[in-house]
Amino acid sequence: MTATVRPFGILKSYIDNQPERLVEPGRTVRQTMLDLGIPPDVVALVTVNDEQETKDYLIQEGDLVKLIAVVGGG
């Protein structure tokens, strides 16, 4: 079993402009971002199965993790 990480918008550039990556569960969102080469600081919002979570969330099997950057601010 795996989990899915789906970066939005400009964050795709960190995973070769692919729409998503399959990852192994058991690591935090932050660790997984670093594994994928996505700088955690540029990610404003993390949702897991459509609920907002922190980057310290431990990814579970089957999770869909969405990563959203702030493009231009408030």
Binding site: F8, A44, G72, G73
Partner: protein
């Protein structure tokens, strides 16, 4: 004129005279609308050294060519005046549904002049325009009065109103509309109050001419489709601006205890997900918005409801006051809205007062007995009310803004007054984010975030780096982002959803019949930026570099806690930032636009 209502409505509150004139085509060509109209009319019509709360000052309310049309978020209008808070330029952007009705009444700008001898409200129903007696309405809260007007005239009438804060001329009083949208910053509500104008009630039914109807429909639908198809639409709609609360906490940008730090140990209590779970009832959008960022909230503990809070209010009435309780933050938001004071400035003023109290500079003799410590929720509510009514020593002190308050109190409190040009800093701690710090330092109204939001660029490039690329980024954002306030549409579709801004180009052309690229629009933005800079130069004797300096806290006091603990921008880097900024802007070393720059921009004669 395609894309325009076609007229400028001029209301002299001293004489009661109401006149309309055609919108000057050359002004529409050169300044387009919204904030551009405001800057032009302010500079041209308000005499030098006008008293901000006197009859010579004017309040200019302007739509843009996109306002009220089939454009995502085309519900923005600009409120420009000489600021009673700063003494310089003020421009506040308001969402909701007011601007669409204004446009449908055939009006591009309302110019309010003079001072009424008694409280009045302005009633507009297409070509019927009247000043009506508001003596019995004076003293009412914003929510109650908006409800009253809706009952009296009907739901289709849009209402903009001041609360007691505006009546009492709190220098950062706001204008309220749509039960939760504000023209918030710079004291536009105080100017309205000084004119004894309690409210504007309006309704319009006219068509807006467009140059190419088929092209307009096509380009409009494409822009809406891009929004609907955008990744992140569901998430942004779900959380709105509160998305950034946890992120700011994580990167050390969440103002905490009067900006003493950028991370808050109680942050989770005010994060977007906490708010969504605990208090949000439903979403609320402005005119034509496909991604409604507003949230209606129910505060069970207080048995009250409010639209909000937005991120800025969460930061400044939450972490900035040491309060990690979203219901309390939302209740503070409700009080500020109903009383008609800007949550950003109020939050900064109260944070400053709490720090002064904890340092022993303010005592209970100064606070009317309030235990004004960080985290005291009930004291916070009490201070908000005192400010709105200028009640007691504390209310009178804080109602004039943090700069004046700290100058009056002295005893070193000026050092932790968080402001630029006299305007309280909005909700981003900038101890170690040099581009964002520069954005605040050089913002045209004072320390506000919406012109240039550069903090992600700091994180991408290196937050303490001081390089020309950062300065260029700040300037580009300052020229570009406010153009949404000129066009009369919301920027958040670009900001949040990442919509390709080029989609606006054919839409604007189809509406106005004029082809303008974004480079053309940024040139207009640059022209407006320089006009407003010259307004400061004209109004403030000795205006220059010193007015662009940030709060000393950001270059003298590194945070002791949080992720930015020990980090700070060096004083010499603050100076370097300004040196580079002035050079790139074509200004002299004191921050004044050169004659050559003004000539190149085509505004030398206007600002002469």
């Amino acid at each position: 004129m395609n894309g325009y209502g076609g007229s400028i409505l001029r209301v002299n509150l001293t004489t009661g005279q109401i006149t309309k004139q055609p919108t000057p085509p050359e002004v529409a060509r050169d300044y387009i609308g919204g904030r551009g109209f405001g800057a032009y009319f302010l500079f041209k019509e308000v005499p030098k050294n006008a008293e901000p709360l006197g009859p010579e000052n004017k309040l200019i309310i302007s739509t843009g060519p996109l306002s009220g049309l089939m454009v995502p978020g085309a519900g923005k209008c600009d409120w420009t005046t000489k600021s009673p808070l700063t003494g310089g330029y003020a421009s506040a952007s308001m969402g909701g549904h007011f601007t669409a009705e204004l446009k449908y009444a055939g009006i591009d700008s309302i110019i309010l002049e003079g001072v009424s001898p008694k409280p009045v409200y302005l009633f507009i129903d297409d070509d019927k325009v009247q000043l009506l007696d508001a003596t019995n309405l004076w003293g009412k809260g914003a929510f109650e009065l908006e409800v009253d007007f809706k009952h009296k005239y009907g739901e289709e009438y849009q209402v903009a109103v001041i609360g007691p804060g505006g009546e009492n001329m709190v220098l950062y009083a706001c204008v309220n509309h749509d039960y939760g949208r504000q023209a918030g910053r710079g004291g536009v509500g105080a100017v309205m109050g000084s004119k004894k104008l309690k409210a504007i009630v309006l309704h319009g039914t006219k068509s807006v001419p467009v140059a190419d109807l088929a092209g307009y429909r096509k380009a409009g639908m494409e822009l809406y489709k891009a929004c609907k198809d955008a990744e992140g639409l569901a998430e942004w709609t779900r959380y709105g601006t509160t998305i950034v609360t946890s992120w700011c906490d994580e990167v050390g940008a969440l103002p905490t205890r009067n900006f003493q730090a950028g991370s808050f140990e109680g942050g989770k209590g005010i994060y977007g997900q906490t708010m969504r779970k605990e208090i949000v009832i439903t979403d609320k959008g402005c005119f034509g918005c496909p991604c409604p960022c507003g949230k209606y909230s129910n505060m069970k503990r207080y048995n009250t409801q409010v639209e909000g809070p937005e991120y800025e209010t969460i930061g400044l009435f939450g972490s900035n006051l040491g309060i990690g309780d979203i219901q309390a933050v939302a209740e503070s938001n409700r009080l500020c809205d109903d009383l008609g004071i800007d949550t950003i400035s109020a939050g900064v003023c109260i944070g400053w007062a709490m720090e002064a109290y904890e340092k022993g500079i303010l005592t209970k003799a100064d606070t009317d007995g309030l235990e004004l410590k960080f985290g005291n929720i009930e004291a916070t509510f009490a201070v908000v009310k005192k400010i709105a009514y200028r009640e007691g020593k504390l209310g009178a002190l804080l109602a004039d803004g943090v700069k004046r308050a700290s100058q009056k109190l002295g005893k070193g409190s000026e050092k932790f007054a968080i402001e630029v040009k006299g305007m309280e800093q909005s909700s981003y701690a900038t101890h170690n984010a040099t581009a964002m710090l520069l954005a605040y330092m050089t913002c045209d109204v004072g320390a506000h975030h919406n012109r240039s939001w550069a903090i992600t660029y700091d994180l991408q490039v290196g937050r303490d780096k001081v390089v020309p690329e950062k300065v260029a980024r700040v300037i580009w954002l300052q020229n570009f982002r406010p153009m949404f306030d000129v066009l009369g549409a919301c920027r958040l579709q670009w900001v949040e959803l990442g919509i390709n801004r080029d989609l606006y180009v054919p839409l604007l052309e189809a509406i106005t019949g004029l082809h303008r690229t974004w480079e053309d629009l940024e040139a207009v933005g640059n022209r407006i930026w320089n006009i407003t800079r010259m307004y400061w130069v004209r109004e403030i004797e000795g205006f220059g570099r010193a007015w662009d300096m940030p709060s000393r806290r950001f270059y003298e006091e590194p945070p002791k806690t949080g992720v930015t603990a020990g980090q700070i921008t060096k004083y010499e880097d603050v100076i370097r930032l300004l040196d580079m900024y002035y050079e790139q802007r074509g200004w002299n070393t004191n921050g004044l636009p050169t004659a050559d720059t003004l000539e190149k921009l085509g505004i030398a004669s206007l600002v002469a």
